[in-house]
């Protein structure tokens, strides 16, 4: 595999009387170039990521102290307690009912149960407003998962409130 540049070698020889030698069939070995090209191709193919991260959009009401009056019966409260990793404890109640703990074998089951519950609730009461109270020590992923389930259940209006000590007392009893 060598670059053979044929006729140009004969240029120096005296045998040829022609002053201008025609360069016919110049062949350059392209193998190294192609090798490099394919190397680069492999590199770019392997490093490219086509997917861009997704985002969840949230609209907050402006901070102007507007109070929204909601009928107790339309209010679904979700309370999330701080839990060790890979578990989640969600307590839900409508109005002034006693909170109920969502049961599930593991975290994924709990989230699925939450989704099911939300879909049933919104079906029976389309005016439902959800209030989410999350413990400060809980994980961020809990909030995202709950919001995701709300979005999947087409509940687009919900509020976030801090979990107060009185809420903590309520869910501790269960």
């Amino acid at each position: 595999m060598s670059a053979d540049v044929g006729p140009s070698q004969s240029r120096g020889k005296q045998k040829h009387s022609k002053k201008k030698s025609k360069r016919v069939g110049v062949r350059i070995d392209m193998t190294p170039m192609v090798d490099v090209a394919f190397l680069l191709l492999t590199f770019f193919m392997l490093t490219t990521t086509m997917a861009k991260p997704q985002t969840m959009e949230i609209n907050l009401p402006p901070d102007s102290g507007v109070n929204v009056e909601v009928a107790e019966s339309n209010l679904l409260t979700l309370r999330v307690a701080a839990d060790p990793k890979d578990t989640i404890s969600v307590f839900y109640n409508t109005g002034i009912d006693k909170p109920v703990r969502l049961v599930g074998k593991n975290r994924t089951d709990c989230i699925a149960a939450l989704g099911k519950m939300l879909k049933e609730r919104i079906k029976s009461n389309p005016k439902l407003i959800t209030l989410i109270k999350i413990d400060g020590k809980a994980r961020y992923v809990d909030m995202v998962d709950i919001m995701d389930e709300l979005n999947l259940a087409d509940i687009t209006r919900f509020s976030l409130a801090p979990l107060l000590d009185q809420d903590r007392k309520i869910i501790e009893k269960i």
Binding site: M30, V34, A37, F38, L40, L41, F44, M45, T47, T48, T49, A51, K52, P53, Q54, T55, M56, E57, I58, N59, L60, P61, P62, D63, K85, I134, D135, G136, K137, A138, R139, Y140, V141, D142, M143, V144, D145, M147, D148, N151, L152, L160, P162
Partner: protein, 150 residues
């Protein structure tokens, strides 16, 4: 009786052509992952909004509750963090400084969109604090960055 194949030649030109075509494609479409100020494991969601390409303020919250503020353009970075820091993807900020910096950035470029990039294991109280700051400075629309759940 076996025939010996001597000097077997195959025209590689079409393959090489396609190879170069693909190479050009990948070279032009590739975008190197922007440098992260801190490593963050994103939570999953079923949301399908895409992250906007430009004019983004990124508030990253790491696992150990540190808050980083980042911009996608160097101009914004040098305007907010100073010329010396314009090459850094994000700067660590205290939650008390955050409101001020956000207002400063948004007066410079009102088109900026805010995204929160929180780690899965961040305590919720930190995110809550950031969201309260956003509400206080009237950024009522923001996005939470997530990965697409399968």
């Amino acid at each position: 009786m076996s025939k010996k194949r001597v000097g077997f030649k195959l025209d590689m030109t079409p393959m090489v052509d396609v190879g170069f075509l693909l190479l050009t494609f990948f070279m032009l479409t590739t975008q190197f992952k922007p440098e992260e100020s801190v490593e963050i494991a994103l939570p999953d969601s079923h949301s399908v909004f895409k992250l906007p390409d430009a004019d983004v303020i990124t508030i990253s919250v790491s696992k150990d509750s540190r808050i980083f503020l980042g911009f996608d353009s160097q101009n914004m970075r040098s305007a907010v963090f100073g010329e010396a820091n314009k090459l850094r993807a994000g700067m660590e900020v205290k939650s008390e400084q955050l409101a001020n910096l956000l207002v400063q950035a948004r007066t410079r470029n009102p088109k900026l969109r805010t995204v929160i990039k929180g780690d899965k294991d961040t305590p919720y109280e930190v995110i809550e604090k950031v969201m309260n700051v956003l509400q206080k400075v009237n950024i009522t629309r923001f996005n939470l960055v997530t990965n697409l759940a399968k």
